[in-house]
Assembly symmetry: C2
Homo-oligomer: 241 residues x 2
């Protein structure tokens, strides 16, 4: 998870600068770009670095940009007038955001831990799509995936018990965020409250359920944010997918 702490080209947090060569390479891989295409994308890209808690954009704001997560993790959430919160998703390196916001964001995006993003103006990106139409198809595919994920989550929220929700969450995180991590050990950058707001539970229930899983030997952890999924099979059984 190279954090590049103290590198000289690191800009002031929350501000944008030109993308670095490393970021450019990341982008090229995410989008499966040729060299020529990459150069064009680079030309319209800026780099954004956020510290924990800082917002990429907020519910209700206008937003004319697309973002790619290069490093770190991002939390998407909606707030009700009376202050209840629903976390609608977590994003990790390789994920994109800003897609679902034609006019005014319907949700807030915030960095959970220190995060590096790439930013492109939507207009420039649209122009790029006209030049490389398959980019548009890729964008549509990404929205497909996002929509499918949202519908899966609706099932989790509407029809699963607390145990099933937490088990599902752990497995989802294992598949999405820790693709390349050592087997079955997952890092949880988000707080218990974030998890609770994602699963439609109280913090205490999340904590209790994790303790239950540990007592039953399904998982193991000392630090709260680093969990070993021993007996993944049984966890899958609990999740009842």
């Amino acid at each position: 998870m190279s954090k590049d702490q103290g590198r000289s080209d690191r800009p002031k947090r929350g501000e944008a600068s030109q993308v670095t060569p490393r970021q450019a390479r990341e982008l090229a891989i995410f989008w499966a770009l040729s060299d020529g295409e990459l150069r064009q994308l680079e030309a319209i890209s800026h780099r954004v670095v956020l510290s924990p808690g800082q917002a990429v954009f907020r519910q209700g704001e206008q937003n004319a940009h697309l973002y790619g997560v290069v490093d770190g993790s991002v939390r998407l959430s909606k707030l009700t007038p009376n202050g209840r919160r629903q976390v609608t998703g977590f994003l990790f390196r390789g994920d994109f955001l800003g897609l679902a916001t034609a006019k005014g964001n319907s949700y807030t995006a915030e960095a959970i831990e220190r995060a590096e993003l790439c930013r492109f103006p939507k207009n420039d990106f649209d122009a790029l799509i006209d030049e490389f139409p398959w980019l548009g198809h890729r964008l549509l595919d990404m929205m497909h995936d996002e929509l499918a994920a949202a519908q899966d989550q609706m099932l989790v929220l509407g029809r699963k018990t607390a145990r099933e929700k937490v088990a599902t969450f752990l497995l989802e995180l294992s598949n999405r965020a820790n693709r390349h991590a050592p087997d079955n050990r997952i890092a949880l950058p988000m707080s218990r409250e974030d998890i609770a707001d994602y699963l439609g539970l109280a913090v205490e229930t999340v904590s209790r359920t994790l303790s239950d899983f540990r007592r039953e030997g399904l998982i193991r952890y000392e630090r709260a944010r680093e969990i070993d999924l021993i007996r993944k099979q049984d966890l899958e059984y609990v999740a009842e997918m």
Copy 2:
């Protein structure tokens, strides 16, 4: 809600035929098409008529078509292995489906009441997009809306009480399905169980909550599937949007 019962051009249910001039006109309006564009869309369109309960397509099946709802209403749902169901959305005339299914449907789409759909092969539609690029943008916009709706529903499922859920549902239906209906009277083509599975509640809770609303004078109804939203304001207050 002209049902065209007994019209001579009505095909055998569940089978496809050429679109009718009336359907073509509907399409032209939905997509804001010019005459030339409409002719091309007509050329690739087929008409599908479904009786109550019949599936447009099923979870897991391949699906190479897009559909537009011309009349009636459609229920989208997901099933867990152990038989629990989550209804992810309801579609009415003017809505589209088949968008979120790149490879294998992630949900089932079924007619609630008798429904008329227009069907286009995805390939032909893609070709049409190449000719009229703004059609692709329109498609992206529609996915925007779908995604935003899904995220709204996540908030409903995760963070609202039974009363809030039911109130939200009634108002949503009033805005979406009954845009052109006489003020504040809504038709509910779906069963109480469909509503329950949409809101993540038990059937009995939906029924009870509606009875409560009636007792409190927020709504009025004799037949279960036709409800007057008297005191919409108060309903909005209950929904806590």
